[in-house]
């Protein structure tokens, strides 16, 4: 079975993967098991997953259908390795950046440098890095409220993101967005969206633009792909289903990436979803659905290559479920008392950053010293970002009314017959509107 063969139709993929999975995970999958409610879900999860993890602690053998693909492919490649040294270093640097940046955010939050809800990405780095590092600059990324690292992976400078978190004018959104609303037109980061699911339609729209440009505007070279990230909680929301339908219907160049970290704040995925296997919803809508170990950047990348390639070739959307875990609470305001310490420990042992490091060293792709140098470099980048953010100015009053309307005439005609935006008080920020 190969991944591409599944693109034609639902049935083969469905059957193959289901059987592949059910061998490993019978207890987890069985929908008739009456234990998936109330407080019992933790236990259910542990027993079922623990079994497979004990058996397969090694990274490469984890969860899914796709890992089978990876295994099959491996012997075919000449080097026997999944990445080159240079690729590996890029991935490692990006993951380290994500981790170090988020750790610094936590520090700055507790030091009172940033406020509000700050959701950190620790533990999920393999997903962001695995997908976004494959994209071109023209490709778009749509994120959620947990968006710092997606922006960083897409190339938004750390200082611009940090400064945004500090609420300064030098932030990537001039301090007007904040933690949950990171945007960069230059890097085609179409946003952090703070409500569940609302980013998916926007991503679908960006993918629609790619198709429109190619087919209506006759820009034959427009092969831009949009990647939409969202979590397991979103997969019970209507916009998710509506957009899967539309994207498949019109064969839009989009990849739906589920970062299934098993928890929607305090709601266990198993208590929220009638069928916890999200990837299955892909075939239901006529697109491939793939499950991948989201703690393994190389596997994520392998799947991402296929999915992005499919989209780029105009073959339509893909749904990818990445099983991952967040190492911190939902946000920095979350005491994180609900999740079982054993569950946390088990996933901590699968830390994607450590795993990549191990892989690189074991396969002689890099040395301890070389990776240390990267970590040091990133520490400096993050330190510099904090200094930059700290020294940057707060927004002035005049900024308040800027950017409410793209065309400032939207503020209307004042009592004096002039457009209100022509009023000198407007630019001073003292106008009453």
């Amino acid at each position: 079975m190969s991944f591409t063969s599944t693109t034609k139709f639902v049935q083969p993929l469905h059957l193959n993967t289901t059987s592949a999975r059910s061998n490993d995970h019978k207890p987890f999958l069985d929908p008739f098991k009456p234990t998936s409610f109330l407080g019992s879900t933790n236990k259910l999860r542990f027993t079922s997953l623990a079994k497979s993890h004990q058996a397969n602690l090694h990274r490469r053998s984890a969860v899914v259908a796709v890992s089978e693909v990876v295994k099959e492919k491996k012997p075919k490649s000449s080097t026997n390795l999944l990445i080159t040294k240079d690729e590996g270093l890029v991935l490692y640097e990006d993951m380290i950046l994500g981790r170090a940046f988020e750790d610094m955010c936590a520090q700055m939050y507790y030091r009172g440098k940033m406020f509000g809800f700050v959701h950190l990405y620790n533990g999920q780095e393999a997903v962001s890095t695995g997908f976004i590092k494959l994209l071109k600059k023209e490709d778009s990324v749509v994120s959620t409220y947990r968006d710092h690292v997606h922006a960083l992976s897409k190339g938004v400078p750390a200082r611009a993101v940090m400064s945004e978190l500090f609420g300064k004018t030098t932030g990537c959104c001039r301090g007007q967005g904040g933690s949950m609303h990171m945007f960069s037109k230059e890097h085609n980061v179409l946003g952090g969206f703070a409500f569940i699911g609302e980013g998916i339609p926007v991503a679908t729209g960006a993918a629609f633009t790619s198709k429109y440009r190619r087919e209506v505007l006759q820009e034959a070279d427009c092969d831009h792909v949009t990647v939409a990230f969202f979590g397991d909680g979103t997969c019970n929301n209507g916009q998710f289903f509506e957009c899967l339908n539309m994207a498949a219907l019109w064969k839009l160049p989009i990849v739906f990436v589920v970062e299934n970290n098993l928890w929607a704040i305090g709601m266990s995925h198993l208590r929220a979803a009638s069928d916890p296997e999200i990837w299955k919803k892909g075939p239901a809508f006529g697109m491939p659905g793939v499950h991948v170990d989201g703690m393994d950047v190389l596997k994520v990348r392998d799947v991402a290559k296929e999915a992005v390639g499919r989209a780029r070739r105009g073959e339509g959307p893909t749904l990818v479920e990445c099983e991952t875990y967040r190492f911190r609470g939902h946000s920095l305001a979350d005491p994180d008392e609900l999740r079982d310490p054993a569950e946390k420990a088990r996933y901590a042992a699968r830390d994607p950053v450590t795993a990549l490091k191990k892989y690189m060293i074991e396969n002689n792709l890099s040395s301890e010293a070389e990776l240390k140098a990267i970590e040091k470099k990133i520490d400096e980048v993050v330190e510099e970002a904090v200094e930059f953010a700290d020294e940057s100015p707060h927004p002035g009053r005049s900024q308040l009314l800027e950017n409410v309307f793209a065309d400032p005439k939207g503020f209307g005609i004042g009592p004096d017959g002039r457009y209100r935006c022509e009023d000198p008080k407007f630019t001073e920020g003292t106008a009453h509107v």
């Binding site: 778009s140 749509v142 959104c173 001039r174 301090g175 007007q176 967005g177 904040g178 609303h181 945007f183 960069s184 037109k185 179409l190 946003g191 703070a194 409500f195 609302e198 998916i200 339609p201 926007v202 679908t204 729209g205 960006a206 993918a207 629609f208 633009t209 790619s210 198709k211 429109y212 440009r213 087919e215 209506v216 505007l217 006759q218 209507g238 916009q239 509506e242 957009c243 339908n245 539309m246 498949a248 219907l249 019109w250 064969k251 006529g286 950017n403 409410v404 309307f405 793209a406 065309d407 005439k409 939207g410 503020f411 209307g412 005609i413 004042g414 009592p415 002039r418 457009y419 209100r420």
Partner: protein, 405 residues
């Protein structure tokens, strides 16, 4: 075309046929625009000529094609040049001109394509421009509105049609959070040049859900402009202006006005999104209204004139922001204000307008502003109850008499 729905395989055939269509129609459009440029007279609706210093406003100003006296506003004199059409055809004409002019303009919504729109505003456009430019969407308001926003962020200029304006309540999250706020939260990086439009208002016994007065719901969303059209002339002009605007614009159409007939100019014209329209100049009282209530007001005005009053009727057209200049000049002249709207009484357009007038022109008022709104009830089905829900001409006459005592 009819085979499209049968399977995944058909999707490719579908898109291929679109691209041929669209190519054909892109080229002539740009040319015709430049030929037309500058060929029309620029006069404000209140008759004022445009000064040179207002260059940026000049291109959005309007010729005064709507009759300014009494009851003939919808049916203009037949001797004028131009062509006669219905309001929905005027909207369609505006849409078509803009689609010819700019290939980035596209339409999406329920049944806008093959079916031609629930009120036929997009009739024939799918044949002309292909199924991608006039996109029939599944019934998923929040998602296709969000899709329009995503498309607008990435360079297209979509017009999203709510089959009935009330259905857009299902897209309220996208309209509020993304349409209204995203330009701001992105620090001005992304623009959302989208038009959201559709039939709204109280129709004829359509029941509560299809007879919504949504202006009040949308008006407090920051970053959104709202206009309401009321004549074929301004419907076309506002449609074109809304499409060209960089701001997200909600264009309110009224279900009962689609079949209004009027003669409109053959030359290209465009209305200002921020400007009110002087419908009938007068001296005694300023009546501010919009959309369908304009016709109830004009009916009342006939009676009032017979009774010796000389009301000034202004169609405010721009529901957000208000054209306080035109409104203010009128208040300064008449010193009395009556607002007539179909919107809800609580938190409606009239409430906001009353406040704006009190804040800005309090010293010019000889009497408190009176605001006639529809009743705060779910629109009833029964004809009699429905009639009592919205403001009737007799109430307008009474209110004016009271104001002018």
């Amino acid at each position: 075309m009819a085979t499209v729905l049968h399977g995944v395989g058909a999707a490719t055939a579908l898109s291929a046929s679109k691209s041929i269509d669209s190519r054909k129609f892109q080229l002539p459009s740009r040319r015709s625009l430049s030929e037309r440029k500058g060929s029309f007279l620029v006069v404000r609706s209140d008759g004022r000529m445009v000064q040179g210093s207002r260059a940026l406003r000049a291109e959005k100003l309007i010729t005064n094609a709507v009759a300014t006296k009494a009851d003939t506003s919808a049916a203009s004199t037949a001797s004028k040049p131009g062509h006669e059409l219905l309001l929905f055809e005027a909207l369609r004409e505006g849409l078509e001109e803009e689609m010819d002019r700019d290939p980035h303009v596209c339409v999406m919504g329920e049944d806008v394509g093959h079916y031609g729109g629930s009120y036929k505003v997009t009739r024939g456009l799918a044949d002309k421009y292909g199924d991608l430019r006039v996109l029939d969407t599944p019934i998923a308001e929040n998602s296709f509105t969000g899709m329009g926003i995503g498309a607008a962020m990435t360079g297209l200029r979509p017009i999203v049609e709510g089959m009935n304006m009330g259905f857009l309540l299902l897209a309220f999250n996208q309209i509020s959070n993304n349409c209204g706020m995203l330009h701001y939260t992105s620090g001005g990086q992304f623009k959302i040049p989208i038009v959201i439009r559709g039939p709204g208002g109280v129709g004829r016994q359509l029941g509560a859900e299809h007879s919504q007065r949504l202006e009040s719901y949308f008006q407090s969303i920051p970053g959104i402009q709202m206009v309401a059209c009321s004549t074929p002339y301004n419907a076309k002009g506002l449609m074109k202006a809304a499409i060209r605007s960089e701001n997200p614009v909600i264009l309110f159409e009224h279900v009962l006005l689609y079949n209004l007939k009027e003669r409109i100019p053959d030359e290209e014209y465009i209305c200002s999104l921020e400007e009110a329209e002087m419908v009938r100049p007068g001296e005694h009282v300023t009546i501010l209204t919009y959309s369908r209530m304009r016709y109830h007001v004009m009916q009342a005005a006939k009676t009032l004139v017979n009774k010796g009053y000389d009301p000034e009727v202004i169609d405010i057209r721009s529901l957000k922001p208000f054209d306080l200049y035109t409104i203010g000049n009128s208040v300064k002249k008449t010193h009395r204000v009556l607002i007539v709207e179909e919107c809800m009484r609580t938190g409606g357009i009239g409430a906001s307008l009353t406040n704006a007038i009190n804040e800005n022109f309090h010293d010019y008022l000889d009497a408190p502003v009176i605001c006639l709104s529809s009743q705060d009830v779910p629109t009833p089905y029964a004809g009699t109850l429905e009639e009592w829900t919205v403001v009737q001409p007799a109430q307008i006459v009474t209110a004016v008499e009271k104001l002018c005592q």
